[in-house]
């Protein structure tokens, strides 16, 4: 009857994703690698097969136990397809066991879409880089290796939350505000609109340093100001809350390719904290400095883990946990205005870098979400939003061009509109 199948628990942060994923919020994110030449599907398939062998966790399917979900090893083979699904289309279906990621290509782009329960941005990036590198090595005969491809298998699958959970740590309770929310008509068929802007890393960094800020602090401030410009006077009494996922590996050494992130929030109240850019930036910097400390983040790990390790909560059957987690996810969704996620610099060996134009990342979300990553001198700033209106994106990118940056932009909004017109010629998407 064959070998017994390996299984593993979900890490702490992953537990919220299976019950809260839906058609509207699929909890799927996509990494894009745009090459200089067109992608060869067969070679990509070969690269994928090789990569999956190095990342056995990616062969997992998600199953339900009596108390928790768990990953089970499967013999399913991932298949590379030409892009034929909407961006960040649902991956996890409780009634159909399948792999928790997909790889597709279109033109010069390689897309890796991952269900968030499997990995976070940094974790999936390991997979993406390995796959792209194997692809390029085969395509262009590049030799060499990735700088960090020697992670031990047990380190890759490690639940880092479990490792750094300190029971004695104070659990902090963050203050909750009812934030301003951007509302509007949604795109048809639960589609996600993507607007990707490409800037020069050096130019943005220079500007940020002129303001004595880091790149994230600077761009979060620009984001907050561009949200402010779109608010009505009545709405301006409400705070703008930006959720910022923090890669905890930066503070707590871990090489896991699963989830290991914590959420911090920047809350800006225009009535109290000021409306000028400099005032916003000062406030954002202060929030970052307060929250990006080892003590504070350790408190976040404890707060997340305390719940999971509570014996009373553990003993609740999964069928009852699911609606509770859904409610928690629903409240969390309403708790912020937008999210800002910086994946950071993506390193590839010099031999391969010449054939890559850029990397890009974005996430399916129920409210506007910014995702950043950089490769070489290209900073990719992607805004994903389920809303048809692009006013907020326009204000954000116009503030960037007003600051003197040159921005290149691609988007899938036109493709969404054309796909709709094909089937429903009478239905206008833009009024």
């Amino acid at each position: 009857m064959g070998q017994s199948k390996q299984w593993s628990r979900l890490d702490n942060a992953a537990k919220i994703f299976p019950p809260t994923s839906s058609k509207r919020g699929t909890k799927v994110f996509r990494f894009v690698c745009e090459l200089t030449g067109p992608v060869d599907g067969a070679v990509l398939q070969h690269a994928l097969d090789k990569t999956v062998e190095v990342f056995p966790l990616y062969r997992s399917i998600l199953k339900k136990g009596l108390f928790w979900y768990y990953f089970e090893e499967s013999s399913l083979q991932p298949e590379v397809l030409e892009e034929s699904l909407p961006v960040c289309a649902p991956i996890y279906d409780p009634d159909r066991s399948g792999l928790l990621f997909r790889v597709s290509y279109y033109g010069k782009r390689i897309n890796l879409e991952v269900f968030h329960a499997l990995a976070d941005g940094t974790g999936a990036l390991h997979f993406m880089r390995t796959m792209v590198f194997v692809y390029l090595a085969e395509m262009y005969g590049i030799t060499g290796r990735l700088p960090d491809d020697d992670i031990a298998p047990d380190q890759k699958g490690l639940d880092a939350f479990h490792k750094y959970y300190d029971k004695r740590e104070n659990t902090l309770k963050a203050k909750r505000y009812r934030p301003f929310r951007i509302r509007g008509e949604r795109l048809p068929d639960n589609r996600i609109g993507i607007i990707e802007g490409f800037l020069s890393v050096r130019a943005v960094l220079k500007k940020a340093h002129e303001h004595h800020a880091t790149l994230s602090e600077f761009l979060v401030s620009v984001l907050i100001c561009s949200i402010y410009d779109g608010m009505t006077v009545r709405e301006r009494a409400r705070p703008v809350v930006i959720t910022v996922p923090v890669d905890l590996r930066r503070f707590f050494p871990a090489q896991t390719v699963r989830n290991f992130f914590g959420l911090i929030q920047v809350t800006h109240n225009f009535c109290q904290d000021g409306q000028e850019f400099e005032q916003v930036l000062a406030h954002v910097r202060k929030s970052f400095e307060q929250q990006l400390t080892k003590e504070y983040l350790s408190g976040i790990i404890s707060r997340y883990s305390a719940m999971e390790n509570n014996p009373w909560i553990k003993a609740i059957p999964l069928v009852i946990k699911i609606p509770i987690l859904r409610l928690a996810g629903f409240c969390q969704d309403r708790g912020d205005t937008a999210a800002f996620s910086n994946v950071g610099r993506i390193a590839m060996p010099a031999e391969a870098a010449g054939t890559i134009r850029l990397f890009d990342v974005f996430l399916s979300a129920k409210r506007p979400q910014l995702c950043l990553c950089s490769f070489g001198d290209t900073l990719s700033v992607s805004v994903s939003s389920p809303l048809a209106d692009t006013g907020f994106q326009r204000r954000f990118f116009r503030s960037l061009t007003d600051l003197g940056f040159s921005v290149q932009m691609v988007s899938n909004l036109e493709q969404i509109r054309r796909g709709e017109e094909f089937h429903a010629p009478m239905r206008p998407l833009w009024n």
């Binding site: 009857m1 003993a315 116009r398 290149q408 932009m409 054309r418």
Partner: protein, 221 residues
């Protein structure tokens, strides 16, 4: 490259309008192509059939109520029609939802149909047919069906062992039913109990390790 003068951005590929402000673009498109494919709207054909069947059952139910109202002699038989449709839909929904895992679907069918039969029996005078016949026959058939499906689909033991085990546990209930003198017709229950014990013994003798591992992973906390 194309350019939106109002937003001050450059647009590679050949978009028709600026994604930010929808205004027309200046410049000439470069031939790098678009970065996203045009996708057709998602197909919705299967929903239509489902809606048609659902509409049909609602119509049939309403017609039976109307006839019942016009000719009230013979009692409220239309209630039977409606409950019958409801039972059918409940079972059908489970059948469709679980269709991707056949062994699981078989177990669910055994449970849901037995339960519906019990409720029907309970509220129509409790003649005992649901426990005498339906439960033991379904549970026994489910045991055989799960084993056959597993062989035909060449499933891994861990993909179905838990469902088989749970079905055997349901079979043991029939022994309780006999001993507690709840059932009047002994034969089906006795056969069901016998089959359960034999299947259970086979699992314990040949697949003890797999069973133990499956229980561990399903019950981890």
């Amino acid at each position: 490259m194309l350019r939106c003068d109002r937003c001050g951005i450059d647009l590679p590929g050949n978009p028709l309008r600026c994604p930010l402000c929808q205004s027309a673009l200046s410049g000439t498109p470069d031939n790098t192509g678009n970065r996203f494919p045009v996708l057709n709207a998602l197909p919705k054909a299967s929903r239509k059939l489902l809606a048609l069947i659902a509409f049909g059952t609602v119509c049939a139910s309403v017609i039976s109520i109307v006839i019942n109202l016009i000719r009230p002699a013979g009692g409220w038989w239309s209630l039977f029609v409606i409950t019958g449709f409801a039972s059918l839909w409940i079972d059908f929904a489970v059948l469709i939802r679980k269709r991707n895992n056949l062994t699981k679907d078989v177990l669910w069918q055994a449970v849901v149909v037995s339960l519906l039969a019990y409720l029907w029996d309970r509220f129509t005078g409790f003649h005992g047919w649901s426990l005498d016949y339906v439960l033991p026959i379904l549970v026994t058939c489910a045991m055989i069906a799960i084993t056959l499906i597993a062989q035909i689909q060449k499933l891994h033991i861990q993909d179905y062992i838990l469902y088989l085990f749970m079905d055997c546990m349901l079979g043991i209930i029939s022994f309780v039913l006999i001993r507690a003198r709840i059932v009047r017709v002994i034969t089906p229950c006795a056969i069901c109990f016998g089959a359960s014990v034999i299947f259970l013994a086979a699992l314990l003798f040949f697949e003890r390790k797999a069973l133990w591992e499956e229980i561990q992973r399903r019950l981890h906390w």
